[in-house]
């Protein structure tokens, strides 16, 4: 056989939708976006599937998690995959996800990014490293109108008894079909519980064109790990060293900000931080500079007796 394998397995009508969210608190919203769109596709006789990323750690509060949909006019060839490698649409249920996560990775030319945020598209763009293939960005304050629905119903592949599209997910699904005609808006509306929220997303999303021309799309094939890429027998070095492969700073939606003036150096924050982020550097003061592992849990601010620590939205900082 001498076939062009890449051409042979091409799926030209396949649309890939990826939603990024915060573990536990936004899992449901991420699921709602992909299930609302996939259900709408199904109503139109398209071939669809929807699922949650299996490798992400969905039971950790704040961890970046993903949910996916695949919608196509043709039967799906690549059904059993872990990820959407080349998304046409990326949705963020939380604005801070643009930090520390390569949310546009593998995006197809002319792709769409929808972000749940009060901020302007121009500000969000500052945090995106490579926007070569991004066609459109859309911002919508979904939380303002719908709020997050926190439930484990529907997690781990189970049936969602709480209903699809109750909260933020409905707004974002509406925004997606405004930005890209994947399925008919009326079919998305009839696929969500909260029609009003969905309509709001469709009507109010602020869309900005980022690029209209794109360089040739040549994704590098994924190279599998070899036996030499892993340590002997899969052992992992000491837990008391920093684990560069499990940096948790990108779990953070809010950042602890320390006020030297109010701090009495009681070190309760140092004692209580679950991730050893508060470093006891000098007898005078704790140091909050090691934010690489700060998940933004807010325990330090909670335990501080003098309110020397305040939690500030992560995207207020441009670093």
């Amino acid at each position: 056989m001498n076939l062009d394998v890449k051409k042979l397995f091409e799926e030209p009508s396949l649309i890939q939708i990826t939603t990024w969210a915060r573990g536990v608190i936004e899992n449901k919203d991420a699921r709602d976006v992909v299930f609302a769109l996939a259900n709408a596709g199904s109503k139109e006789g398209k071939y669809v599937q929807a699922w949650e990323n299996y490798v992400d750690l969905p039971d950790r509060v704040g961890v970046p998690v993903r949910a996916y949909a695949r919608i196509s006019d043709e039967p799906l060839l690549s059904k059993y995959v872990y990820e959407n490698e080349h998304p046409d649409v990326v949705v963020l249920t939380n604005e801070a996800l643009v930090k520390g996560n390569d949310v546009l990775q593998g995006m197809k030319p002319g792709g769409v990014l929808i972000v749940n945020t009060k901020r302007d598209p121009e500000y969000i763009l500052k945090f995106l490293k490579d926007t070569t293939y991004l066609g459109t960005i859309g911002c919508i304050d979904a939380t303002e109108v719908a709020g997050h629905v926190q439930t484990l119903s529907g997690a781990e592949g189970a049936t969602d008894a709480s209903g699809i599209g109750v909260g933020v997910g409905a707004v974002l699904a509406g925004a997606v079909v405004k930005a890209k005609s994947i399925v008919k808006p009326e079919n998305v509306l009839s696929s969500v519980q909260n029609e009003e929220a969905c309509r709001y997303g469709y009507d109010e999303v602020r869309l900005v064109t980022v690029n209209t021309t794109f360089p040739e799309f040549k994704p590098a094939p994924k190279k599998p790990l070899g036996p030499e890429d892993l340590p002997f027998a899969g052992t992992v070095p000491s837990v008391d060293k920093e684990n560069e492969k499990r940096i948790t700073g990108n779990w953070r939606s809010e950042r602890p900000v320390w006020s030297k003036e109010r701090c009495t150096n009681c070190l309760l924050c140092w004692v209580n931080c679950p991730d050893s982020v508060v470093v006891y550097k000098t007898p005078e003061a704790a140091d909050f500079t090691n934010l690489k592992y700060c998940k933004g849990c807010g325990i330090c601010a909670e335990v501080c007796p003098t309110k020397a620590i305040t939690m500030v939205p992560e995207l207020d900082f441009e670093d």
């Binding site: 036996p227 899969g234 837990v239």
Partner: protein
């Protein structure tokens, strides 16, 4: 040179463990392997062996303890029989995956129901694909020798894999035979101290058996796959050196008996191979060209050697002392693997399976006679009427 004693397989195994100077032993009683542990407990109590002897609360705990002890750099010994072997099943793959050369003696016992303590290879064979070195001793002497050989093979830096040294329950474990017990000096020469590539260390902690992601699965499985392939070379080397030091020469993978001009052979492992040899000898005296091919190493399976050896004969009868309900050909593991090894060579060598000795019943000389008669008929007519026969009902 060592001294000769009349001892059973369990005592022979315990003697080998003493000579190997193991550090940690974990026990839990079940017939018929228990004698190994009572012998070792006596040795530790009498000061003949300096080892931690831990009585576990079950076989799963036994294996978990030696898993940890081996990771900490200890030479370990454990063992079991029958349902004890299958109860510990969860721990076998983590041990080989962590590349820890834990040594486990299995004196075979039938799986329940209803609690038959006779020997069958079923329980040990059910663990055959967990990346442990595995083979059967057919005499108490072989039980002693296999123990020393397996420590040496498993601890080799090119292998670093655990081992099941198996012996047929009762037949080998309980019937005393003459055993030459080697000198400590000989054993020291043959078996260097255990040193792993990684050992738990308080001043440089690490995690063994951490959770990984699916993409890390293939490379780690491949590391193990390479290790068990590499073991074939190390097994051959170890047996050669064993012969030079102890004077007992074994063929490391398959032992041939009266096969030079044989037309038909029995392919078998473990204690019943001794009976098969005796029958072959009797038939030879009457001019029948029959022989025995004894499989010494089940894992890693010596595919090429089995192919080269078995393809010389007109008909091969694979005797399985185990139940593999619903297996291809309705025989057993040996039949399936012999056929796989012979695949691609055409139909020159006919193969048939015999399932016998179930529940620990004796495979009688009369039964072996019937097997040889069937094989001769197949060799003559060139026709295999059925894939396998359950003894004594179908032959």
């Amino acid at each position: 040179m060592g001294k000769k004693r009349l001892i059973s397989g369990v005592v022979a195994t315990a003697e080998a463990v003493r000579l190997a100077d193991v550090d940690v032993i974990t026990s839990f009683p079940i017939r018929p392997y228990t004698g190994i542990m009572s012998e070792l407990a006596r040795m530790v109590a009498d000061g003949e062996l300096d080892a931690e002897f831990i009585h576990a609360d079950g076989e799963h705990a036994q294996l978990s303890i030696v898993y940890g002890a081996s990771a900490a750099g200890a030479r370990t010994f454990t063992g079991s029989s029958g349902v004890g072997v299958t109860y510990a099943m969860e721990v076998y793959s983590p041990i080989s995956g962590a590349r820890l050369p834990v040594h486990m003696a299995i004196a075979d016992r039938t799986l329940d129901p209803p609690g038959d303590f006779g020997s069958e290879h079923t329980e040990a064979e059910s663990c055959r694909d967990q990346c442990w070195i595995q083979g059967w001793a057919a005499t108490p002497q072989e039980a002693l020798d296999l123990t020393l050989l397996y420590y040496r093979i498993g601890e080799d830096p090119r292998v670093l894999l655990p081992q099941y040294a198996c012996q047929d329950g009762y037949f080998v474990s309980h019937i005393a035979g003459e055993v030459e017990i080697p000198d400590e000096g000989q054993v020291k020469e043959f078996l260097p101290p255990y040193k792993n590539k990684h050992s738990l260390n308080i001043s440089d902690p690490m995690i063994i058996g951490a959770q990984i992601e699916p993409e890390m699965g293939p490379p780690l499985q491949y590391q193990r796959y390479i290790a068990i392939q590499e073991a074939r070379k190390v097994i051959a080397e170890a047996y050669k050196e064993f012969g030079e030091i102890f004077g007992r020469k074994y063929s490391p993978f398959v032992e041939e008996y009266m096969t030079d001009d044989a037309e038909v052979v029995i392919f078998i492992q473990g204690a019943h191979s001794v009976t098969a040899r005796n029958v072959a000898l009797k038939l030879r005296n009457h001019g029948e060209k029959v022989g025995v091919v004894q499989l010494r190493t089940l894992r890693p399976f010596p595919t090429e050697i089995v192919r080269d050896v078995l393809s010389r004969f007109k008909a091969v009868g694979a005797v399985d002392n185990s139940v593999n309900y619903g297996i291809a050909g309705d025989g057993g593991v040996l039949l399936s693997e012999a056929r796989t090894a012979l695949y691609g060579l055409g139909d020159k060598t006919k193969t048939v399976g015999f399932v016998g000795g179930l529940g620990g019943e004796v495979i009688t000389m009369e039964e072996f006679y019937k097997m040889y008669a069937k094989l001769k008929e197949i060799a003559k007519t060139g026709k295999v009427e059925r894939d396998s026969y359950w003894l004594p009902y179908e032959l």
